[in-house]
């Protein structure tokens, strides 16, 4: 197992933040950084995924692995994430249905888009397999499947020219914003909650920046210099979030997605704010890690096993939501949900690492 590092640490923090934010209304929600800016943990998660692809597709000496192997590696990861999404969806739907039965409360079946499944399983099960039917709070993994699926294209282009990859990816991003392109939902109308055509840009950005950072110290130097700008952006974001100031989507000029704070389309304001967050916090891990050893170790362990932890975290936050509903909530319940969730996510990470260390049982 690799030692704790900044990437895993931040990814771990993003996982914990997502878990807390996915139990809406709970007391601790207001203490997550997502409440104090324009962008949130989703940006961090996707950016770090891109950064990790850069690390994973090169040897320790920095030489790129053969193209075929990169393609197979990313394909294999795509399948792994797809499998996780199907498992999580099945368990989430079963949890919702089970709770509705136990509490004799059919309203629970309407939980964030689940109603479609229970009313029309014939079409919806096809949608589940195609990833076009998503439950609320369970829409990051479908995005991730698509991003990993198209990642080989960008990785291979970047082997020839990083600029070309960035231009291609940025072009697709801008076009999708201007033309309002998104992948459709089905059954039912509407689009994906996380638009892969836009969010791919952040993944590619993570990948390209990692690549650049490996080759020269220009990026490191510049990000040091630009840190005050990053801090200013973060402060500006806090002010906007606290004062609840945001553009009115019906008053901004066309193409309106260039000006709004839209999460689905990862609009430029969110992207710029996120880059500000990166600049402002880039040195924080080095400062923090020695001082909060066990916490850093815990978060890095979550980050190392992000797929398993994220999947468990999604189900735990659903459980937390239903528990809050059943009991009526309150500080004690919220505290219980938080503690059990953190413990269970930690256990999941430990368990995955334990299992990979042990030889598989021959049964």
């Amino acid at each position: 197992m690799r030692d704790p590092n900044a990437i895993d640490f931040w990814r771990g923090l993003a996982l914990v933040t997502i878990f807390i934010n996915h139990v809406p209304g709970n007391t601790f929600e207001r203490y997550t950084y997502s409440q104090y800016g324009i962008s949130d943990a989703a940006e961090l998660f996707v950016f770090l995924a891109g950064w990790s692809i850069g690390i994973a597709t090169r040897g320790r000496d920095g030489h790129p692995e053969p193209r075929g192997r990169t393609v197979i590696r990313l394909l294999s990861r795509t399948i792994e994430v797809y499998r996780a999404q199907l498992t999580v969806m099945l368990l989430a739907l079963a949890t919702i249905a089970g709770t509705a039965l136990v509490l004799d409360n059919p309203l629970i079946l309407e939980w964030h888009n689940a109603g479609t499944f229970f009313a029309d399983p014939i079409q919806t099960i096809v949608g589940v397999a195609l990833l076009t039917h998503q439950l609320g709070f369970f829409n990051i993994l479908p995005l991730y499947v698509v991003l990993l699926g198209i990642a080989p294209v960008f990785v291979l282009i970047a082997r020839e020219s990083r600029t070309a990859a960035l231009v291609f990816s940025g072009g697709l991003y801008l076009l999708s914003l201007i033309e309002e392109w998104n992948l459709p939902s089905w059954p039912g109308e509407g689009d994906w909650f996380f638009n892969p055509l836009c969010w791919q840009f952040l993944l590619v950005l993570g990948f390209v920046l990692q690549d650049w950072n490996r080759e020269s110290d220009t990026l490191a130097r510049w990000s040091r210099r630009l840190m005050p700008a990053g801090v200013a952006l973060v402060l500006f974001g806090i002010a906007l979030a606290v004062l609840e100031i945001r553009p009115d989507p019906l008053r901004v000029p066309e193409p309106r997605l260039l000006f709004t704070f839209d999460k689905t389309y990862l609009t430029p304001a969110r992207l710029i704010h996120f880059l500000g967050v990166l600049l402002a916090f880039r040195a924080v891990y080095g400062f923090l890690a020695p001082r909060i050893g066990p916490v850093a170790g815990y978060l890095a362990r979550l980050g190392r096993n992000s797929l398993a932890v994220f999947s468990m975290g999604s189900l735990l936050s659903l459980g937390g939501q239903l528990l809050r509903f059943w009991t009526g909530g309150g500080l004690l319940i919220d505290l219980t949900i938080l503690c059990l969730g953190l413990l269970a996510m930690g256990f999941t990470a430990w368990f995955v690492e334990w299992r990979s260390r042990k030889p598989r049982p021959r049964v």
């Binding site: 809406p24 059919p106 964030h112 109603g115 229970f118 439950l135 039912g188 509407g190 009115d248 019906l250």
Partner: protein, 294 residues
């Protein structure tokens, strides 16, 4: 029937005529799985039939008007009708129309609206709204409205926030802000409050959520489909229907989903008629008043 009771006496004949027309056109609303009985003549005397089910609805969905809706003006829809252009409706909330229903709720809504507004082209776009309006989903709704620029937003609101047990004041503020925002752009809103189910009948918090939706509809003068009251009424009727394999509450829930398109259509049609009848003296905003039969 709530409508004529608030109309100035002089306008009553006009309204009754309008109502008759609405009842006649609404009769054809549903594809009607079983033969619908001919419209009962009782519709002619609406003021006294307040407790009887609204006969323009299909039998299984029949609820007295006073328990089904409060009415208010729909200026944008009216303008679209005047300009003879298609009415664009954005339906927000679940799309399910019950287990094994022949069509989804948005499709049913479009069909029902077109039947009750003859010669009008209605385009219903539907979007599920994931998340709670008290924590972020209200922003998403604004984007959807900006994307589609409808004349009317029909918004099933409150269920997700109630299930998450968000703070009541946060829910109330977010709902009020959002309704006001939609209206500020000359777009009409019809609110649909959360469903009734027996296990939540005594849940104070859930009832508060329903009450909040009602209060905001009244404060902002937007029509409200009282799904909660309507379902409670249907639940109280002698239950002669076929059972549901999962129990009575699930059957009732299913019925609520099936009836919703009809109920929403009724509230919209009557809100439009109310405007027509009282354009000068403007019948008092019904939404602000307690329903007469309670």
């Amino acid at each position: 029937m709530a409508l004529p009771q608030t109309a100035p006496p002089g306008l009553r004949p006009l309204l009754v005529a309008a109502l008759l027309f609405a009842a006649a056109s609404a009769r054809a609303e549903e594809p009607a799985p079983q033969p619908v009985p001919r419209p009962a003549p009782t519709v002619i005397s609406p003021p006294t039939s307040a407790e009887a089910g609204d006969a323009s609805l299909s039998p299984e969905c029949r609820v007295p008007g006073s328990q089904l809706y409060t009415l208010a003006k729909l200026r944008a829809v009216k303008a679209a009708l005047k300009e003879k252009r298609p009415v664009r409706v954005l339906s927000i909330g679940g799309i399910s129309a019950g287990l094994g229903a022949s069509a989804t709720y948005p499709v049913k809504l479009e069909t029902a609206l077109e039947r009750s507004l003859p010669d009008v082209d209605v385009e219903v776009e539907a979007r599920g709204l994931q998340g709670e309006i008290a924590s972020g989903a209200a922003e998403r709704l604004r984007s959807m409205v900006a994307e589609l620029e409808p004349d009317l937003v029909v918004w099933q609101v409150g269920t997700h926030d109630a299930l998450a047990r968000v703070e009541l004041s946060a829910f109330s503020d977010a709902l009020d802000d959002t309704v006001r925002w939609i209206k500020s752009h000359d777009i009409d809103v019809v609110l649909v409050d959360p469903q009734y189910t027996a296990s939540l009948a005594d849940d104070a918090y859930y009832n508060d959520v329903v009450r909040t939706v009602r209060e905001i509809a009244a404060r902002e003068h937007v029509p409200l489909v009282q799904r909660y009251e309507a379902m409670r009424y249907l639940a109280g009727r002698a239950d002669k229907g076929e059972g549901h394999m999962l129990g009575r509450q699930f059957r009732l829930n299913d019925l609520g989903l099936r009836c919703m398109a009809e109920h929403v259509t009724r509230a919209i049609t009557l809100s439009l008629l109310q405007q027509e009848g009282g354009s000068r003296e403007a019948p008092a905003q019904q939404a602000g008043q307690p329903a007469p039969s309670r």
